[in-house]
Symmetry: C2
Subunit: 106 residues, 2 copies
DNA sequence: CGCACCTACAACCATGTGGTTGTACGTTAG
DNA sequence: CTAACGTACAACCACATGGTTGTAGGTGCG
Protein backbone atom coordinates (compact mmCIF):
# COMPACT_ATOMS: atom_id res chain seq x y z
CA UNK A 1 0.00 0.00 0.00
CA UNK A 2 1.76 3.06 -1.26
CA UNK A 3 -0.50 5.55 0.46
CA UNK A 4 -1.38 4.71 4.05
CA UNK A 5 -4.90 4.46 5.38
CA UNK A 6 -3.84 7.24 7.74
CA UNK A 7 -3.52 9.65 4.83
CA UNK A 8 -6.84 8.74 3.26
CA UNK A 9 -8.82 8.96 6.49
CA UNK A 10 -7.08 12.15 7.49
CA UNK A 11 -7.88 13.67 4.10
CA UNK A 12 -11.52 12.72 4.54
CA UNK A 13 -11.69 14.08 8.08
CA UNK A 14 -12.43 17.62 6.90
CA UNK A 15 -15.73 18.83 5.51
CA UNK A 16 -14.11 21.22 3.03
CA UNK A 17 -11.98 18.44 1.59
CA UNK A 18 -14.93 16.08 1.31
CA UNK A 19 -16.81 18.82 -0.49
CA UNK A 20 -13.91 19.42 -2.87
CA UNK A 21 -13.86 15.70 -3.51
CA UNK A 22 -17.55 15.55 -4.43
CA UNK A 23 -17.08 18.46 -6.85
CA UNK A 24 -14.11 17.03 -8.68
CA UNK A 25 -15.56 13.54 -8.76
CA UNK A 26 -18.53 14.96 -10.68
CA UNK A 27 -16.16 16.62 -13.13
CA UNK A 28 -12.64 17.99 -13.01
CA UNK A 29 -12.22 21.56 -11.85
CA UNK A 30 -9.30 23.95 -11.80
CA UNK A 31 -7.80 24.96 -8.47
CA UNK A 32 -9.06 28.54 -8.90
CA UNK A 33 -12.57 27.38 -9.72
CA UNK A 34 -12.49 25.42 -6.48
CA UNK A 35 -10.96 28.30 -4.57
CA UNK A 36 -13.78 30.63 -5.63
CA UNK A 37 -16.27 28.22 -4.09
CA UNK A 38 -15.04 28.56 -0.51
CA UNK A 39 -14.79 31.42 1.95
CA UNK A 40 -11.04 31.11 2.35
CA UNK A 41 -7.89 32.10 0.53
CA UNK A 42 -6.67 30.49 -2.65
CA UNK A 43 -3.63 29.16 -0.79
CA UNK A 44 -5.83 27.46 1.80
CA UNK A 45 -7.80 25.64 -0.87
CA UNK A 46 -4.58 24.76 -2.60
CA UNK A 47 -3.36 23.15 0.62
CA UNK A 48 -6.57 21.14 0.92
CA UNK A 49 -6.09 19.89 -2.61
CA UNK A 50 -2.52 18.97 -1.73
CA UNK A 51 -3.76 16.87 1.20
CA UNK A 52 -6.23 15.08 -1.06
CA UNK A 53 -3.47 14.58 -3.59
CA UNK A 54 -1.13 13.07 -1.03
CA UNK A 55 -3.90 10.60 -0.17
CA UNK A 56 -4.22 9.88 -3.90
CA UNK A 57 -7.90 10.85 -3.73
CA UNK A 58 -7.35 13.36 -6.51
CA UNK A 59 -4.84 13.88 -9.31
CA UNK A 60 -4.00 16.93 -11.34
CA UNK A 61 -3.49 17.43 -15.05
CA UNK A 62 -2.43 20.64 -16.72
CA UNK A 63 -4.71 22.37 -19.20
CA UNK A 64 -3.15 25.55 -20.46
CA UNK A 65 -2.33 27.64 -17.45
CA UNK A 66 -4.85 25.82 -15.32
CA UNK A 67 -4.32 22.79 -13.17
CA UNK A 68 -7.36 20.52 -13.39
CA UNK A 69 -8.17 18.44 -10.32
CA UNK A 70 -9.74 15.04 -10.90
CA UNK A 71 -11.28 12.64 -8.38
CA UNK A 72 -9.74 9.18 -8.02
CA UNK A 73 -12.06 6.51 -6.77
CA UNK A 74 -9.69 3.63 -6.13
CA UNK A 75 -8.52 4.73 -2.64
CA UNK A 76 -12.17 5.14 -1.67
CA UNK A 77 -12.77 1.57 -2.69
CA UNK A 78 -9.91 0.42 -0.50
CA UNK A 79 -11.33 2.31 2.48
CA UNK A 80 -14.79 0.95 1.89
CA UNK A 81 -13.28 -2.49 1.90
CA UNK A 82 -11.48 -1.76 5.16
CA UNK A 83 -14.66 -0.57 6.86
CA UNK A 84 -16.52 -3.57 5.51
CA UNK A 85 -13.81 -5.66 7.11
CA UNK A 86 -14.55 -4.17 10.53
CA UNK A 87 -18.21 -4.74 10.05
CA UNK A 88 -17.73 -8.34 9.03
CA UNK A 89 -15.42 -8.83 11.99
CA UNK A 90 -18.15 -7.56 14.24
CA UNK A 91 -20.62 -10.01 12.76
CA UNK A 92 -18.23 -12.84 13.68
CA UNK A 93 -18.28 -13.87 10.08
CA UNK A 94 -14.54 -13.41 9.91
CA UNK A 95 -13.34 -15.31 6.88
CA UNK A 96 -10.20 -13.74 5.52
CA UNK A 97 -10.98 -10.62 7.50
CA UNK A 98 -7.66 -10.53 9.29
CA UNK A 99 -5.94 -10.24 5.97
CA UNK A 100 -8.04 -7.29 4.87
CA UNK A 101 -7.44 -5.44 8.11
CA UNK A 102 -3.74 -6.13 7.96
CA UNK A 103 -3.35 -4.69 4.47
CA UNK A 104 -4.01 -1.60 6.48
CA UNK A 105 -0.48 -1.40 7.84
CA UNK A 106 0.62 -3.54 4.93
CA UNK B 1 -26.12 13.36 12.69
CA UNK B 2 -25.05 13.71 16.27
CA UNK B 3 -21.43 12.76 15.69
CA UNK B 4 -19.86 14.37 12.65
CA UNK B 5 -18.14 12.50 9.89
CA UNK B 6 -15.13 14.59 10.82
CA UNK B 7 -14.90 12.84 14.18
CA UNK B 8 -15.27 9.35 12.76
CA UNK B 9 -12.70 9.82 10.00
CA UNK B 10 -10.33 11.56 12.37
CA UNK B 11 -10.66 8.71 14.83
CA UNK B 12 -9.87 6.22 12.08
CA UNK B 13 -6.89 8.22 10.81
CA UNK B 14 -4.53 6.63 13.32
CA UNK B 15 -3.14 3.11 13.16
CA UNK B 16 -3.19 2.64 16.93
CA UNK B 17 -6.84 3.60 17.13
CA UNK B 18 -7.77 1.32 14.25
CA UNK B 19 -5.95 -1.48 16.04
CA UNK B 20 -7.75 -0.77 19.29
CA UNK B 21 -11.00 -0.86 17.35
CA UNK B 22 -10.28 -4.29 15.88
CA UNK B 23 -9.47 -5.63 19.33
CA UNK B 24 -12.60 -4.38 21.03
CA UNK B 25 -14.81 -5.31 18.11
CA UNK B 26 -13.68 -8.92 18.57
CA UNK B 27 -14.53 -8.72 22.26
CA UNK B 28 -14.65 -6.02 24.88
CA UNK B 29 -11.45 -5.24 26.74
CA UNK B 30 -10.62 -3.09 29.72
CA UNK B 31 -8.62 0.07 29.21
CA UNK B 32 -5.65 -1.41 31.08
CA UNK B 33 -5.72 -4.58 28.99
CA UNK B 34 -5.54 -2.38 25.92
CA UNK B 35 -2.85 -0.20 27.44
CA UNK B 36 -0.63 -3.23 28.06
CA UNK B 37 -0.79 -4.05 24.34
CA UNK B 38 0.92 -0.88 23.15
CA UNK B 39 4.35 0.65 23.66
CA UNK B 40 3.01 3.83 25.19
CA UNK B 41 1.71 5.08 28.48
CA UNK B 42 -1.65 4.18 29.96
CA UNK B 43 -2.76 7.79 29.61
CA UNK B 44 -1.93 7.82 25.90
CA UNK B 45 -4.08 4.75 25.26
CA UNK B 46 -6.79 6.25 27.39
CA UNK B 47 -6.76 9.32 25.15
CA UNK B 48 -7.02 7.17 22.03
CA UNK B 49 -10.02 5.43 23.54
CA UNK B 50 -11.53 8.83 24.32
CA UNK B 51 -11.17 9.85 20.67
CA UNK B 52 -12.87 6.64 19.54
CA UNK B 53 -15.57 7.23 22.13
CA UNK B 54 -16.21 10.79 20.92
CA UNK B 55 -16.67 9.34 17.42
CA UNK B 56 -19.10 6.82 18.93
CA UNK B 57 -16.96 4.00 17.54
CA UNK B 58 -16.67 2.49 21.01
CA UNK B 59 -18.63 2.65 24.24
CA UNK B 60 -17.65 1.81 27.78
CA UNK B 61 -19.41 -0.15 30.48
CA UNK B 62 -18.20 -0.59 34.02
CA UNK B 63 -17.36 -4.05 35.35
CA UNK B 64 -16.15 -3.85 38.91
CA UNK B 65 -13.24 -1.45 38.91
CA UNK B 66 -12.60 -1.98 35.23
CA UNK B 67 -14.00 0.01 32.35
CA UNK B 68 -14.78 -2.34 29.46
CA UNK B 69 -14.48 -0.89 25.96
CA UNK B 70 -16.86 -2.26 23.33
CA UNK B 71 -16.85 -1.69 19.57
CA UNK B 72 -19.85 0.00 17.99
CA UNK B 73 -20.45 -0.86 14.39
CA UNK B 74 -23.16 1.61 13.44
CA UNK B 75 -20.87 4.62 12.75
CA UNK B 76 -18.76 2.38 10.52
CA UNK B 77 -21.84 1.52 8.57
CA UNK B 78 -22.58 5.20 8.07
CA UNK B 79 -19.06 5.84 6.81
CA UNK B 80 -19.20 2.89 4.46
CA UNK B 81 -22.40 4.31 3.11
CA UNK B 82 -20.76 7.70 2.64
CA UNK B 83 -17.84 6.22 0.73
CA UNK B 84 -20.20 4.14 -1.35
CA UNK B 85 -21.94 7.40 -2.17
CA UNK B 86 -18.73 8.88 -3.58
CA UNK B 87 -18.13 5.78 -5.60
CA UNK B 88 -21.64 5.78 -7.02
CA UNK B 89 -21.26 9.46 -7.80
CA UNK B 90 -18.15 8.67 -9.72
CA UNK B 91 -19.94 6.02 -11.71
CA UNK B 92 -22.48 8.66 -12.81
CA UNK B 93 -25.19 6.45 -11.40
CA UNK B 94 -26.24 9.24 -9.09
CA UNK B 95 -29.70 8.31 -7.90
CA UNK B 96 -30.31 9.84 -4.51
CA UNK B 97 -26.61 10.26 -4.06
CA UNK B 98 -26.76 13.94 -3.22
CA UNK B 99 -28.91 13.11 -0.27
CA UNK B 100 -26.45 10.58 1.09
CA UNK B 101 -23.54 12.94 0.77
CA UNK B 102 -25.46 15.76 2.41
CA UNK B 103 -26.28 13.71 5.48
CA UNK B 104 -22.61 14.28 5.93
CA UNK B 105 -23.02 17.83 7.21
CA UNK B 106 -26.50 16.86 8.29
C1' DC C 1 5.75 42.36 -25.85
C1' DG C 2 3.38 43.25 -21.69
C1' DC C 3 -0.05 42.48 -18.49
C1' DA C 4 -3.25 39.57 -16.24
C1' DC C 5 -4.19 35.09 -14.65
C1' DC C 6 -3.23 30.55 -12.46
C1' DT C 7 -0.35 28.20 -9.61
C1' DA C 8 3.21 27.11 -6.24
C1' DC C 9 5.56 27.80 -2.15
C1' DA C 10 7.64 30.01 1.93
C1' DA C 11 6.98 32.33 6.29
C1' DC C 12 4.22 33.08 9.94
C1' DC C 13 0.51 32.45 13.62
C1' DA C 14 -3.02 30.18 16.55
C1' DT C 15 -4.71 26.04 17.73
C1' DG C 16 -4.98 21.03 18.02
C1' DT C 17 -2.73 16.50 18.50
C1' DG C 18 -0.09 12.70 20.44
C1' DG C 19 2.80 11.83 23.66
C1' DT C 20 4.70 12.33 28.52
C1' DT C 21 4.44 12.58 33.92
C1' DG C 22 2.04 13.43 38.10
C1' DT C 23 -1.95 13.62 41.06
C1' DA C 24 -6.40 12.18 42.71
C1' DC C 25 -10.24 9.17 43.38
C1' DG C 26 -13.21 4.95 43.41
C1' DT C 27 -13.13 -0.08 43.90
C1' DT C 28 -11.60 -4.55 45.04
C1' DA C 29 -8.57 -7.90 47.44
C1' DG C 30 -6.33 -9.44 51.62
C1' DC D 1 -8.66 -0.94 57.17
C1' DT D 2 -4.98 -0.73 54.08
C1' DA D 3 -2.76 -1.50 50.00
C1' DA D 4 -2.91 -2.22 45.26
C1' DC D 5 -5.33 -1.70 41.07
C1' DG D 6 -8.00 0.75 37.38
C1' DT D 7 -9.31 4.99 35.86
C1' DA D 8 -9.59 9.93 35.05
C1' DC D 9 -7.71 14.25 34.37
C1' DA D 10 -4.54 18.27 34.41
C1' DA D 11 -0.20 20.27 33.02
C1' DC D 12 3.26 20.26 29.92
C1' DC D 13 6.04 19.57 25.49
C1' DA D 14 7.13 18.93 20.47
C1' DC D 15 5.11 18.96 16.36
C1' DA D 16 1.33 19.01 12.80
C1' DT D 17 -2.64 21.45 11.07
C1' DG D 18 -5.45 25.07 8.96
C1' DG D 19 -5.48 29.37 8.15
C1' DT D 20 -3.21 33.88 6.63
C1' DT D 21 -0.14 37.08 3.47
C1' DG D 22 3.51 37.76 0.31
C1' DT D 23 6.56 36.54 -3.42
C1' DA D 24 7.74 34.37 -7.65
C1' DG D 25 7.31 31.64 -11.92
C1' DG D 26 4.76 29.73 -15.97
C1' DT D 27 1.07 30.50 -19.47
C1' DG D 28 -2.05 32.87 -22.52
C1' DC D 29 -4.67 36.95 -24.27
C1' DG D 30 -4.76 41.45 -26.74
Amino acid sequence: MVVGADDVFHALADATRRDILTRVIRSGQSVSELARAYPMSFAAVQKHVAVLERAALVSKTRRGREQIVHGEVEPLRRMTRLLDGYEALWRQRAAGIEQILEEDEQ
